[in-house]
Subunit: 161 residues, 2 copies
């Protein structure tokens, strides 16, 4: 049987509960032009993120969300219920790719897969996990991938506490 | 003579103007607790980014900015005058590392260095550039590095237009 998506229960996942190939799916977020322009005004004030008309003459061919906006929305979807890690989602970085822009009217959703689980040798209370998260629009097109390095606690830590 | 920082003039840089080792420095941004909490409320609602007291009991030991907030502020500093690329800063992704959290009261600044310049073989009007940007606080500590892949136009494109 192929690996089914893990139902996102209310019980958060410790390192001991995670394995390579395990998958999680987030809820969804509907993006609109007002959100795109508000984020861009504050963090990425470039014409292709701010102005419908000006955007048409650029590489993007129309209003597009800042990649950092897509990344921030991806994080919200993961935090809300897309990746229920014990103690929260704490990352030290990762590899980010923007494959196509997110546009006004897009519905975004995040599908994540555990790609590596490594208990710490020096710290028995934690380990590191690599998770590849694909952010998709309503057509199933991947707009962003982020392969994150996360710090995840072990169950043993609560027994020792 | 060591490579000096390139003065950030009003003239944007085309691919033809960039070379490996060239450096750019941004202006600065002062972070405070209200900004940290506002960003986190919208995009990364976890206790260590939202609540001073709750944050003390976590891995962070006190209120810390979301890594995505640090990334978004880095982008703003680059767009404002930190990396004056012709046609704007258009990235396809990169490698992101959060080395330490940004905190309330931190003054952030971004230092960037060109690490690769590659004219496109198929498109004579553009090329790709890799830029490593270090985001530092007022103590000089690096809080984030991002090595971006950018699409940068060539001067030839305006002659052909």
């Amino acid at each position: 049987m192929a690996e089914a998506d893990t139902p996102n229960s209310d019980e958060p996942f410790y390192l001991d509960d995670l394995h390579v190939g395990q998958r999680f799916t987030s809820g969804s977020h509907v993006l609109d032009a007002a959100q795109i322009k508000a984020f861009a005004s504050e963090f990425d004030p470039q014409p292709f993120h701010l102005d419908d008309e000006a955007a048409k003459a650029t590489l993007f061919g129309g209003l597009a969300a800042s990649g950092w906006h897509t990344a921030a929305l991806t994080m919200r979807l993961l935090v809300q219920n897309g990746l229920p890690i014990a103690g929260g989602i704490v990352g030290s970085g990762g590899e980010l790719s923007w494959l196509k822009p997110a546009r006004p009217g897009d519905t975004l959703r995040v599908e994540s897969e555990i790609v590596e689980v490594t208990p710490s040798r020096s710290r028995p209370d934690r380990g590191s996990v690599r998770v590849r998260s694909e952010t998709r629009n309503q057509h199933g097109d991947v707009v962003q991938t982020f392969t994150a390095r996360l710090v995840v606690p072990r169950r043993i830590s609560s027994q020792q506490a």
